[in-house]
Subunit: 474 residues, 2 copies
Amino acid sequence: MNPIAFPTHWPVIAHADAPQSLIGQLRERFGSQLSTSMAVREQHGRDESPFDVPPPSAVVFAERTTDVEDAVRLCAQFETPVIAYGAGSSIEGHLLAVKGGICIDVSRMDQIVSLNAEDMTVTVQPGVTRKQLNEAIKDSGLFFPIDPGADASIGGMTATRASGTNAVRYGTMRENVLALEVVTANGERVRTGTRAKKSSAGYDLTRLFVGSEGTLGVMTEITVRLYPTPEAISAAVCSFVSISQATETVIQIIQMGIPIARVELLDANTVRMVNVHSKLALREEPMLLMEFHGSPASVKEQAELVQDIAADNGGNAFAWSATPEDRTRLWTARHNAYFAAIQSKPGCRAVTTDVCVPISRLADCLLESIDEANASGIPYFLVGHVGDGNFHFGYLIDPGVSAERDTAEALNRRLVERALRLGGTCTGEHGVGLHKIGFLEQEAGSAAIAVMRAIKQALDPRNIMNPGKIFAQL
Amino acid sequence: MNPIAFPTHWPVIAHADAPQSLIGQLRERFGSQLSTSMAVREQHGRDESPFDVPPPSAVVFAERTTDVEDAVRLCAQFETPVIAYGAGSSIEGHLLAVKGGICIDVSRMDQIVSLNAEDMTVTVQPGVTRKQLNEAIKDSGLFFPIDPGADASIGGMTATRASGTNAVRYGTMRENVLALEVVTANGERVRTGTRAKKSSAGYDLTRLFVGSEGTLGVMTEITVRLYPTPEAISAAVCSFVSISQATETVIQIIQMGIPIARVELLDANTVRMVNVHSKLALREEPMLLMEFHGSPASVKEQAELVQDIAADNGGNAFAWSATPEDRTRLWTARHNAYFAAIQSKPGCRAVTTDVCVPISRLADCLLESIDEANASGIPYFLVGHVGDGNFHFGYLIDPGVSAERDTAEALNRRLVERALRLGGTCTGEHGVGLHKIGFLEQEAGSAAIAVMRAIKQALDPRNIMNPGKIFAQL
């Protein structure tokens, strides 16, 4: 696959090979846990973002916290960058070695450290993936709701403040991480938070590290909240003639305080792609895909209320998926929207983006963005966690045609500017990475960026923790 | 009332008068908005904590953000401390001018800046109190749930990461503050967050300022989430023979995922005090006071489930308070527990404290702490937001008897050490202030404290923002 060249208006790539003496010391300390093979380096030098950057100089496969401490300490001595790597599912370029350095792969740190079922918390190592976690705890009657689509690692999800389809009810990683163990830039182990559900004890370091994208430290243990597996689950789909009707339905669901567990929007164009890919026969109209969790009575009540609201807003073909098989088929189709889109244009790559706006501005933001995408001639997919005002566009471009890439980048830029104008944020759940450095500056303003930079400088004075991400020229 | 002397093992008080030239410049800028009268200074030099510290040198009554900016900028020039003051309801000494300085009273900044009912958010100035906010929005069908008991200011609640009785369902200020405007130590205005419900855009500065107790900046605007006023509310009380039965009931309620809105514990001794003060006839046994929010059907279902759980755990006298009047009377009695306690020992003062533990350890923590308090001979009250594992002790001491104060401090110390041993935190919702500086060190450990100090130093290099709080020797 032909990678897309790094756009010229982005931060300068200052890739440098790590010093051979550092590699030597790492080899001495880590033996076969260190790899300098080009295949391994290249695998760790990319993520789901479509950009082309030279790979890191070596990969350390950490198996325990002391491995991370020692690797960071050695890199600190040589002022060499450190990039943590979990499942590699980032889509904003978080994992790229734009300034060179050593990758610390934590995927072998995949143990459940302790499950506290009575308190509904679990502590895991960073390489545990969300599916692995749910499999490991399935007999406890509990589940971990955060679902960004990909089978991401809990470490990566913490680092990017991930969320996904269930966030409308259960919150994001911001709300669900209770405590962390982090190795900071000097190779020291810091513990933040406790297993207590709330605390007023000092600065909220947990929340500072959540979403810091590897720029302040490498997470080595994460304690998250779990939830009781719902007694009853039901799902429904409903089609609408217009996006506005669908979003109005969502606004009313939220305003009535109905504790809907998932409410996803697909536009007609994306439903069409999903139908082809998953061999479904959904009406090719704007569609809400919903899920309700609770007691049987409460699920029934929620669903009936939602059905009434949808009908009031012109919703038609409100359909239940009563069986777990039906439900799984629908949600699998939703999660495969990305692949459905990719397959709709052979050889294409997706330039994906996400924004989040106050829900009252959702219809405006969506409609203008759809019009603009249609006018551009670039095919796209659109899926939204619309209960939170969050949605994704993926622009399907031919990587060999630079005009298509430029058009996609222009669409992305106008989408983000629109979201900011409407009181929203440049990324609801993907993170800043490389792609949104300029947009973060627009959103936060120079005073807030100065505060972030001051924190970065205070905690990582040598600038070795995933440098070149979040901020320009750091 | 005889204030309690500052315990000798606490940080050294280094009170110094502000330079006369600073006072002169403040007078020039602020005119009648500045007061140096001893009565005003003394009123602003204490809070609900029982300690005796000289007052600030002057009080600026800020009316707008530019007032705060100018006051901070002038103080920064003279390296003079700045202490923000809202409703004065802190109980851990946050407002005391331990290093002298200027108090910025923001209580006149009491405007609702903008209500966005459709998005269920509101932006307020910091001096708005929680009752004022709920009064102002009562026609919108929305309410602000965070209820720390006192009619605290939203600014103060943000600064201490407050919560209270509704947090078990609606979360704390950590979960409910979306965005802030803050004046930082150089007098600059910083905006954090947006009105979007979630974001992955850069460091979570909002969460960093929430709970920073005035040590990183003065909040000048706060955007918080609102919730639909529940269609139906019902309350119930239930008595138990033992604390363990009550806590087991709570654990099961939470584990079943019942969305209870409030679940408060009072021990038999506190119920007795409340009965006397509020002329009630509650059974003088450990008691849970509960509230359910939702649709009429869901409230009924929740309450029936809870009644069953309580009965399984030996609960008796499960009683409904069907009418709003009944409900108000019960909750008023609960909120007056503090005053009920104070009146039970004429002339006493309360040394109050709060801790929060994982809910599975709640019974252990409570039972040992109650035994210890009973053995000490010091009367006390005990109320708990037990759905979160959070509870308060207030030790009722004669301020003229230093042995009583020492005993209360020893009880507090052992309570906190127990909470930490059980995986909890030294304060669930009061904050660190002065009183818990040492306990925060125990809880967080030296590496995490070093990270907090590095942040403080980076954002406030002259150490003028509420110095002497949270950390020793800063």
